[in-house]
């Protein structure tokens, strides 16, 4: 029989992982409602700029590749746990967080540009729902940055233990989930908005 990985050794560790999956189920419902609102209001642009006028494919592509690559590198962090390779763990986690920072930097710049072009939260139904959807995802990524830094510090101090391995695995689930949500935003907000 295959031995259990370090991150899900004890019963408590397994329960934490299971509990986090249940939480992700609720998150799917949350983002589902936000997508429903956006897709309903997407054409209600009034006299405000439309998505086609606002969206810039270059920034969106950088955001997408940054987040996709970070999803890969956080997977490598989990793999480093299995190898008990602390140096690789730290390096891949730092790369993951750096890519997260690039994503957030581009997104924040994008928001500033939108507001500068007269597209604010109050401008139209489409823009209100757009900002709420993007903002909720961006807030999740921001939270994930702090979470990742905390894990980085704890692992730096204590090494790869059952505790830090378990926390890291749960964090990786969160990060992959945010990547999946972004793929849907990329496809059904940006690409759809630009071709529609």
């Amino acid at each position: 029989m295959k031995s259990k990985p370090l991150y899900s050794l004890g019963e408590e560790s397994s329960n934490r992982i299971l509990g986090f999956w249940l939480f992700l189920g609720a998150e799917i419902a949350l983002f589902g409602t936000l997508f429903a609102v956006y897709l309903t209001l997407a054409n209600n642009t009034g006299s405000a700029p439309t998505q086609k006028e606002l969206f810039e494919m270059n920034g969106v592509m950088i955001e997408t590749f940054a987040l996709l690559t970070s999803s890969f590198t956080i997977g490598l962090v989990v793999n480093a746990i299995k190898l008990n390779h602390k140096k690789a763990f730290m390096s891949f986690l730092i790369i993951t967080l750096a890519l997260g920072a690039i994503f957030l930097g581009v997104e924040i710049t994008e928001f500033f540009t939108y507001v500068h072009e007269g597209a604010t939260l109050q401008s139209s139904g489409a823009l209100s729902s757009l900002f709420v959807l993007l903002g909720t995802h961006g807030a999740h990524v921001t939270f994930g940055m702090f979470w990742g830094i905390a894990i980085l510090i704890q692992t730096y101090r204590e090494g790869i233990t059952e505790t830090t391995a378990n926390k890291t695995f749960i964090y990786s689930l969160y990060w992959h989930f945010l990547d999946v949500v972004w793929i849907f935003i990329f496809s059904f907000v940006y690409v759809k908005g630009l071709i529609g």
Binding site: S8, L18, A29, F31, L76, H176, V191, K192
Partner: protein, 93 residues
């Protein structure tokens, strides 16, 4: 060194890049709107599934059946909300 980059995850990453490029082609090529939307739906679903299986190690969990049940229910709720909303508010029911 190669142990740091397991084949399964490298292949998964390449697949996710390819799916993204296919989704992007909808923007760069002149494809009819309806077909574009179908391509986007298919690539987004495949991308999501890829993350769940390859990167989130869903199948390795000992409570696998509970996870699938919970995920299935969450997706059911999300799909009902999204398409229920579109059906009643946009598609002229």
């Amino acid at each position: 060194m190669s142990a740091l980059f397991p084949k399964q995850q490298v292949v998964g990453f390449i697949q996710s890049l390819v799916l993204t490029i296919i989704a992007l082609s909808v923007y760069f090529l002149d494809i009819p709107y309806r077909i574009s939307l179908i391509i986007l739906i298919v690539t987004a679903l495949l991308q999501g599934g890829l993350q769940l299986i390859v990167f989130m190690h869903m199948g390795e969990n000992e409570d696998k059946s509970v996870l699938y049940l919970n995920l299935g229910y969450a997706i059911f709720v999300a799909v009902t909300i999204v398409f229920g909303t579109l059906w009643t508010l946009l598609w002229g029911w």
